[in-house]
Every structure is written in C-alpha cells, then in structure tokens.
Symmetry: C2
Subunit: 231 residues, 2 copies
C-alpha cells in the first residue's frame, strides 16, 4: 500500500459519502474532502460534512461555493415540495424532483480540478446503483464514461502520468450492506445527515426518499440508527 497517495473524496455528510471516505482511509490514502455550498436548502449536511472530515482525519476539507440555484430545476435548490412517504415502487418508477441536473458531473469535474492540483490519483464518490433512487448519474456506465473523459481532459492524461481513477466502492452495495461495512470500518453514523427536508431544529423528517432509504438500510442491517426522526 502506497501511503503517499492522495485521494479526493466527494463528501456530502450523508451515509454514503461518509462510508466512501472511510473506504479511502482504510486503503491508506491521504484523504482530501470536497463539499459544495450549492444553494441546497438543507445546509445542515455541510455541518455534517465538516464533522465527518474532522473525525476521519482528512488532510484538508475544501468547501466550494457554486450557485446551482441559478440553474434551477430541482426541489433541492428550488421551492418545489420534496416528495414524502413514497413507496419503493414509486421511487424506482421515475427520476425524482430532488434530482439536481448534472450534479454528479459538476461535482466530479471540480474534484478532477482539485485532484490535478494536488496530484491525487483517485476520486471517491459514494454513488450507489441499487438504492440509487432513480438518478441517472449514479450508474456504472456513467462513471466509466466520466473516467474516460477525465483522462482526456487533464494535463495528467496528456502527459501520460498517473491516470485518474473514479472510485465507487459502494456502487453494487445495498444501503444495509453500506451501513454494515461502515460500522466495521468504525464509522459513527450519528455524525451524518441525510434528510432532504429537516425541521427547523435539524431533526430529520423521516418521510423523504433519503430518510426512507436510510431507515430501511438500518432496519435491514439490524443496527439502530443513531439519529432522531420526526416520524
């Protein structure tokens, strides 16, 4: 294991990105957390990201401001209602209103820029193709296409140096498998935040897609979720 290798980890402060960071740490990378203040209505996740980066010993945690709200088109940045209490069948049926157009592409592009500056070889992203809630930019074929493009985009690629790898350790795992693995890796999930629509005191709603998937994951893993829910 090369302990001098650096990895950039996209960190939202939720279960998946926190577990992805724990994977990178376990593999011996020097870890660099990257988060975005992108006009999301739930800035609580940024506080969670800061707690996680600190707890997992990130060498740096960079927070980039980018006003995606100007682009619009999502319940996470617009004043569209977050869908509640949907069944898994409903979640699987279509791409939800909380989809932010091209979000992973934008975030991975910025991670790529930072990776190039740092000389990092790997970018970790906690996407998940099973419990993926209908987002197109969580599929393996998308990630492969991004990696290919990334290696043509940068100096690194041109000069034939280290290729950039987009690492998706969770892509074929269920939410309960992710949680079990995270617990094995020592993750304290009380630091994390998942809810799309928390109450004013920060309590998770328990009814949005993100809360429902999280609750189901903990239930199936047979582990008590350390956070509180409104319902």
């Amino acid at each position: 294991m090369d302990t001098n290798r650096k990895a950039v980890i996209l960190l939202s402060g939720g279960v998946d990105s926190t577990t992805a960071m724990a994977f990178a740490k376990q593999e011996g990378y020097e870890i660099y957390g990257l988060s975005f203040r992108y006009g999301q209505l739930h800035t609580l996740e940024l506080e969670a990201a800061q707690r996680v980066a600190k707890a997992l010993g990130a060498k740096e945690h960079l927070m980039i401001n980018i006003d995606l709200a100007k682009v619009g088109g999502s319940a996470l940045t617009d004043q569209i209602d977050v869908p509640k209490a949907r069944t898994e069948k409903e979640m699987a049926k279509d791409i939800p209103a909380t989809y932010v157009p091209a979000r992973n592409t934008i975030f991975l592009s910025l991670a790529l820029a930072w990776a190039e500056v740092l000389g990092a070889s790997d970018i970790f992203i906690g996407v998940n193709a099973l419990d993926y809630s209908g987002y197109p930019d969580c599929r393996p074929e998308y990630i492969e296409a991004f990696e290919r493009m990334a290696n043509l985009a940068t100096k690194t690629g041109v000069e034939g140096r280290t290729q950039i790898k987009i690492r998706t350790p969770l892509i074929h795992m269920t939410k309960s498998e992710i949680i079990q693995k995270g617990i094995e890796l020592g993750v304290d999930y009380s630091m994390t935040h998942s809810c799309y629509d928390p109450s004013s005191d920060g309590t998770a709603c328990g009814q949005c897609d993100s809360c429902l998937l999280r609750k189901k994951g903990f239930r199936e893993a047979g582990i008590k979720d350390p956070i509180d829910y409104e319902r």
Copy 2:
C-alpha cells in the same frame, strides 16, 4: 431549420466564444449565453460577455459564480505571472501556466445542467484544436468523450429523448479563419476582450499568449483588429 430549438453557448467574451455564439445564431437557435465569475483576475472579459450576449440577441445570459480560485493551480486565478512574449514554438511546447485545471469540463458540466433545465439540445463551445495553446481540454477526442458522458449523465439520456450535442464549430479553424468567418457573420470584434493581463484602464497587454494569438489572427486575416494594445 427548427427555430424552436435552444442552444446554450459558453461565452467568455473573447474572439472564439463570440464567434461560436454567432454560429449558433446563424443556425437559427434560440441562444442562451453562459458565463462564469470564477475568480479570474481579468473580470473585463465578463463585461465583454455581457456586451456580446446583448448584441447577438441572447434570450438569456446567465452568470454563475464559482470560486475556482480555492482550487488553485493557475496563473489566471493565482498570483502567478502570466507568461509574456512567447514564440509559437514555446506556446506549443507545453501546457501553459494559464491553464485552469479541468476548466472546460467544469464549464461544460454547468452548461449541461442548464441545457437540461431549458430543454436545449445543443451546447456550443468555442474550442480550437489548432491555435489551442496547449490545453488538453480543447481536443476533439476530449469533446467526444464529454458528449458521450453527458448523454449518460442526464434524464434526457436515460429517457431516450433528444440527445445532447456538444458543438465545436471552430475546432478545426485557425484564428484567422475564425475571424474571417465572424466578420462574414456580422460580428463586431471591438466588443470582445482577449487579454490575460490587461492594464488598469483595460487596455490589452499585447504580449500574453492570448493577445499574441489574436494579433496574429487579425494580421493573417488581413483585417484590422479594432481594439488597442499597450505594445
């Protein structure tokens, strides 16, 4: 020609992006200009972009703030000296200090997000593989890889609706051909700004790579450059 079709055009306010916008307009698209305030030291280009968008009748001109300066690594956002008076051989030899890591990838990603929200089918970018000054993300193979990734990234791609096309009308043209074509299309280049290192009153330095390529382009086209230079 379908006059209801929309195109997003990446607009820096320089010769190339202005000409790319003129191409989109000539093809009958409803045009949407997209510019970035990304920590560049030369904000004069944003004023040029506003003039150009207005003059070419853009339906909207969106300016997105994104603090790339935090990522660092470039003479355009850091306090690194802009190289001056380089020969073409020197420019061709390596990737210059003014290269912003993954810049086109970041800008195209945001254009992709906006295109999806607008229902636009085409994204125009004024990249150029001949006079490209050594940037890896101006090569045709990079653009093709981005387009492929983009169609996997979005709802549009998943639902099999209109595919997104990344349009590069200037990619195989020399700077003088671009200028000749722009003049044919009615572009007034006095609106544009190209210099990486203008004086405090906004006059172009005449010695940075961008000024040198522009001056050579006008000279070879046999057209008088309407802007002033310090030297």
